[in-house]
Symmetry: C2
Subunit: 235 residues, 2 copies
Amino acid sequence: MGPGTLYGVGVGPGDTELLTLKAARLLSEVRIIAYPAPNGGESLARRIVAPVIPETARELPISIPMVQNREAARQAYDRAVEQMSSHLSLGEHVLFLCEGDPFFYGSFMFIHERLSPRFPCVVVPGVTSLTACAAAIGRPLAARNDVLRIIPATLPEERIRAELEQADAAAIIKVGRHFDKVRALLEELGLAQSSAVVEHATQGDQRIFGIDDVPDGERPYFSTILVYGGGEPWR
Amino acid sequence: MGPGTLYGVGVGPGDTELLTLKAARLLSEVRIIAYPAPNGGESLARRIVAPVIPETARELPISIPMVQNREAARQAYDRAVEQMSSHLSLGEHVLFLCEGDPFFYGSFMFIHERLSPRFPCVVVPGVTSLTACAAAIGRPLAARNDVLRIIPATLPEERIRAELEQADAAAIIKVGRHFDKVRALLEELGLAQSSAVVEHATQGDQRIFGIDDVPDGERPYFSTILVYGGGEPWR
């Protein structure tokens, strides 16, 4: 008997209906379903698929520390990989749920880099929060000859400034606790009116703000800022 | 009776199974289905949904000139919009099929900018060819603190060079007849070994090449080059 296959499956940004037909089919076929549960709390990926997960599924929640503790995170991934590889070695397939898309800034890469040298892996792309945010706002983010830059808010201020200064259009991701820093930069660069904040895109609690309408302080981890080019206001 | 709603629906990069559940539901509910048919030829968007399109659908193929003739394209969109608005005015919903995602470099914007001031519009995001290409290659395109740049190959050589010189990771889209120019640039910048070409991602005729393995000359319009950062080879 050959080994099982690891499926890294994108489940989209939040709305269950944004699952692909392929993700839905695999969820009905693969019995072992693993997913990240930040700090052991509720898993967004698990919540997205809740309406379609079979009762017979065997679930493997993987507690991932979200704090800046690289060693703790490494150990968590090592443990998760051990669990999954024991199933894969027995010829059982394992489906790993990924918020958005598995290979678009996803933590699935830490699973993939450990397991893909040893087991067959199939990656199923999903809808990213990036295009979900543009759809929610109702305005195309990039078109024609625009260069679009995707900028993690976790980068140092200087780097973000340099990227924004030359961008036709930009999406700032992983905003969370970096919101105040990013807003100050957008204001400094005269981009505040061209920027929209989308929180929890396509989820029940989705909110869309102008950059000046957001209260100070930390925002949800799943916040994205779209910076429209051309100097026009985003609304 | 109120006006109908225009639905701009992303149908993903090519594999019918990468339709979202929402796209599949709307296809079964909305009777009038419009789609672009480049130069009156076969429509990729139509082909993607062929297995799930109801027999009762009323189809509205829209012939869009793909040549660099702006005036002809403008007229084609004006005619398409006239057809669609006559249905919308009668309270009939219209579903417009978009390859990939409607607001990610899609031509739906030309429909949306004409119709959204007059009729309710709903945009349903889809899987982009970008993440489908990364899944096909089996390697994450961007991770952690990478800035990802999405660069249309239609841009002048100097601009593409400048973007590539400073990129952590890049995706070059709309490669088509610009392939030779882009390859020469990637070689000049020492990025050839880090670059992979994906043609017709997730379609039956999907192909993945190293940049040096591609024959000279025009490539399919649906070609994307992923440029991996860190100076490592892509394989």
